[in-house]
Symmetry: C2
């Protein structure tokens, strides 16, 4: 996949030189796409927004269901995706799990865009 096919170069209507291999490799692209998949859902964006706005720096899962008008299993599913993507940190204390933004994680995603 890294070698450039040359068969099209003889084409009558070739418009220009073939593009070089993408700066972004297949594996790296797969990794980077994962974090955008985590962000590609309105409810997950809203969950991040709530956790980010929390003055204490963390939100209890018990407080995240009502504002979104979703059941707790659905909210937990979305939170797990955000944790797996490295955007949220989860800490279990007693009955509840508490979620906080992973420091610098959103900046890192912005950095991914700058270095595409």
């Amino acid at each position: 996949m890294n070698s450039l096919p040359v068969i099209d170069q003889a084409s009558d209507d070739a418009c220009c030189a073939p593009a070089s291999a993408p700066a972004l490799g297949a594996e790296e692209a797969k990794q980077k796409a994962l974090v955008f998949k985590a962000l590609a859902d309105p409810n997950r964006l809203r969950l991040l927004s709530i956790v980010k706005a929390e003055s204490s720096g963390e939100s209890c899962v018990c407080d995240l269901t009502d504002p979104l008008d979703l059941g707790q299993p659905t909210v937990s599913h979305h939170l797990k995706i955000l944790v797996d993507a490295g955007l949220l940190h989860r800490e279990k204390r007693g009955t509840w799990a508490y979620y906080s933004l992973v420091p610098g994680a959103l900046d890192d995603v912005a950095g991914l865009l700058a270095t595409l």
Copy 2:
């Protein structure tokens, strides 16, 4: 959806005050999620990467199929999603369509993250 239910406040194991309504509204979140959906695919990230790296500032669709080892219909499908999301600009000239980054679009996405 904007009023906070109070039935849970009497719960024995309530951990803390209910979170306020998310800073990010449902409609706004839906809009913001669209651009992340466009970015949530490895091939689309690689297409952006190629177009961005092109010294002329634009890439012909005819040059985007080989580096990704994909057929032209698939590449065109991905390019359409990137255009619809406001990330790429498409210009038809003669036989071919040429794609360029919408100026500032990736910075705008980074800005979305900063203002969640």
